[in-house]
Amino acid sequence: MQEGAVLEMRGICKYFPGVRALQDVDFTLREGEIHALMGENGAGKSTLIKVLTGVHVKDGGEIFLKGTEGPVHIKSPQDAQNAGISTVYQEITLCPNLTVAENMFIGRTKGGFTNWRYINKRAGEILRSLEIPAAPTQQLGSCSIAVQQMVAIARAVDMECKVLILDEPTSSLDEQEVAKLFKLMLDLKAKGVGIIFVTHFLEQVYEVCDRITVLRDGGLVGEYVIEDLPRVQLVAKMLGKELDDLADIKGDQPAYTEEDRGEPVLEAHQLASTAGIKPFDFAIYKGEVNGFTGLLGSGRSECVRAIFGADRTTGGTVRMDGKEVRIRKPLDAMKLGIGYLPEDRKQDGIVGDLSVRENIILALQVMKGFFHPFSRAQAEAFADEYIKLLEIKTASSDTPIKSLSGGNQQKVILARWLLTNPKYLILDEPTRGIDIGTKIEIQKLVLKLAAEGKSVTFISSEIDEMLRTCSRLIVMRDRKVVGELGGSDLAQDKIMQTIAGGESAS
């Protein structure tokens, strides 16, 4: 083991049926260090964490812990705990109806008897030492989310952990709460605990971390000391583009010039919603394809949800074709000619048990009204038309949509919105998790729609794809619009600089 390391993982491999989730990944955590684990979705962060905590059993490689001779074998979360590895998850996994002290000691008392007085006293000591503003006898549910998060950490600390894993701990906290949490993390660091910090927030990484390990597509990209890795480099590493390679590949599509624009189809001013995005301005013009870009969790989806009325708006105005409109719920947006393909296909898109036909006609049917159902023949005709048009592979239009492949499900949802003949179509991650052939079909379709004079907002995690389709990009960081790029600015390096913020690329 390296000098000063508390944890060393070497050559970790993990396979799932048909997928290589982790390939030869090394990871080293040193004593008294906060180490960020970065990567886009599917990069292998959570698999690595799960291997470390015994949720998954590794298929190859070795794990070493300080104070243990030779490699350790972690086969269950219990093993991990006993080895001094504690995890605090994004979702609070404590019991809100128990007291703080009970939560800290639950499942850890030996035998059938519990000395509550001792436990409350001990819990009080820990809370004080970590300066957590909670009383041992207070009900956990009455504490703020941040304090609950801290109690979870305190529980982990008291289990004398050497390694503390924080998996997206800040995603539901506000700025002040994040600050408190960081203070606690720094205290623990000073006590010699090694902390693995998983987050999507770049700013936070640069605020507290000492080192960064970047994963991409199940493989290790590298381990870096934070000072050596400027933000834009980090983004490049996560996305898999070396800065030198980032030539401008755009050019085959005519740039959208401000002169042809005319009146915007939809214009939003200082729109904000309950999902917690900062008020933003937005406009889209006839025949334009624009996009929101930014890292996952930067607020791209929340912006379009606000436009469509999927989240309740808390302020701002929306104009459609120059007239002010009020969109309170999705139906309002639909009636104005807006369609929305949601990011999470399974949760928000498909209605799994219903047939392909019913899924296709759903939106148009709702717009037509409760008392005017389509006849079976009409519905069949619509479904068959779009099954053919989009080449949806399904046994019949009666097949439940859930038995289709991901790409075909996505095409059904697309068909649903195309059937409503929208003026403005919002596509949030329409190509995620689907095969490359379908991806290209969808990209072509988007450009075709624009050529027909429809407006499209396209969101994708793949910048290549955005560059191929969009003529204008709105860049988001930490739930805020931080820039708008168009024309010659539409190049990978420029986009990544804007996503990363702060520093310049060179």
């Binding site: 639909m334 949760q347 928000d348 209605v351 799994g352 048990d353 759903l362």
Partner: protein, 369 residues
């Protein structure tokens, strides 16, 4: 689903049809019904005899087990309609229907009797009493609906309130009196209309079925409630208001309760708050389950639910017929119920259809030899 297609293509003819039937949702209640029919036919062929005779008032009436079953299952079939919708949209069940039937019945009697519990003449036209009862029952349905849809309380917990309090409310409506109506025309709705030999509840149940069939055909009630039950998030993003759809299914169930309660009080022209429609909620939920509908909501088959209601009454009457020892009656019912529910589980159906598939090649091989 695609496997159904292929298997159907592979084996056309009787085997294929049977296999297709096994996969159909309505297969379970039909199988249960056939099983009961077969059992009764073997033990006592006269079970299915129907005769035309006169009742004590001198009017012609049809009698026989089948008529008894059709008659007595009416309320349950009507409730199964509403319960199916509630189950589909809210993914839970209303356990207060028995208690709200007591309320609905009590309201009918209160309107007809006024303050006098033994009136010589009716104090209001029967149609007025029925309409008032509908309004009240729908209000109570709306109360449940608001709790479930807008306060997001689990349906069973939300309806527990009326389940506990309903019968007391029913008693309070009539000042704890047990009114009796002597006007014979009121009894027509739960018994026979003079000159018509088929029990009136059968007609009322058919009318309800026609109404719901029309509603499902000419509105989007079916599509919306299933969509909301399967995936409320995507339903919302497609412009459906999931809370309102849930709410409306409870109001519809309230209407079903009103009709069922009206038949119940008409049967004897009186009411007993503590026992009227006792445990009927469980039978109604069972009818939905027997129809092969998931109690967790989503897709439903209305016909199968209604058929389920008749199967339950068939079972009850069969058990009465065979004079099953009174204390053992619930146990028998439970055994049958367990069998039917297990049979309706997707796992069991998968096994069953695999069994058919295995049977088919074996037969074919034999024939070839």
């Amino acid at each position: 689903m695609s496997s159904v297609k292929t298997s159907l293509k592979e084996k056309k003819g009787l085997k294929g049809t049977l296999l297709g039937l096994v996969r159909q949702q309505i297969f379970i209640p039909i199988a249960a019904l056939l099983l009961l029919v077969l059992f009764n036919l073997i033990v006592d062929p006269s079970f299915f005899a129907i005769s035309l005779s006169e009742n004590s008032a001198g009017d012609p009436v049809l009698s026989g087990y089948l008529i008894t079953i059709l008659d007595n299952a009416s309320e349950l079939a009507i409730l199964a309609i509403g319960m199916t919708l509630v189950t589909a949209a809210s993914g839970g069940q209303d356990i207060s229907v028995g208690a709200t039937i007591a309320i609905a019945g009590s309201v009918v009697l209160r309107v007809l009797c006024g303050t006098n519990s033994r009136p010589e003449t009716l104090q209001a036209p029967i149609i007025v009493a029925f309409l008032v009862c509908c309004v009240v029952a729908m209000l109570f349905g709306a109360f449940n609906g608001v709790l479930v849809a807008y306060f997001k309380i689990q349906p069973m917990v939300a309806t527990l309130i009326l389940y506990t309090a309903g019968r007391s409310i029913a008693a309070w409506i009539n000042n704890n009196e047990l009114p009796i109506i002597s006007e014979p025309s009121f009894g027509y709705f739960g018994n026979f209309i003079p000159g018509i030999p088929v029990p009136t509840p059968v007609f009322i149940a058919i009318a309800c079925m026609v109404v719901i069939a029309l509603a499902l055909k000419f509105t989007n009630l079916g599509l919306y409630s299933q969509s909301v039950g399967i995936n409320p998030h995507s339903s919302r993003l497609n412009g459906i208001d999931p809370a309102f759809i849930k709410f409306i299914t409870y109001v519809i169930l309230g209407l079903c309760v009103a009709v069922a309660g009206f038949i119940k009080v008409s049967r004897f022209s009186t009411i007993n708050y503590s026992v009227v429609a006792k445990d009927i909620e469980m039978d109604a939920i069972l009818a939905v389950a027997l129809g092969g509908n998931a109690l967790s909501g989503g897709k439903f088959n209305m016909g199968a639910s209604i058929l389920g209601a008749y199967v339950i009454q068939f079972l009850t009457t069969t058990l009465f017929k065979f004079n099953v020892d009174s204390s053992a009656l619930p146990a028998y019912k439970a055994v049958v119920v367990i069998l039917l529910v297990v049979l309706s589980a997707p796992v069991a159906r998968e096994k069953l259809s695999n069994f058919w598939k295995k049977l088919a090649p074996a037969k074919a091989a034999k024939e070839a030899n």
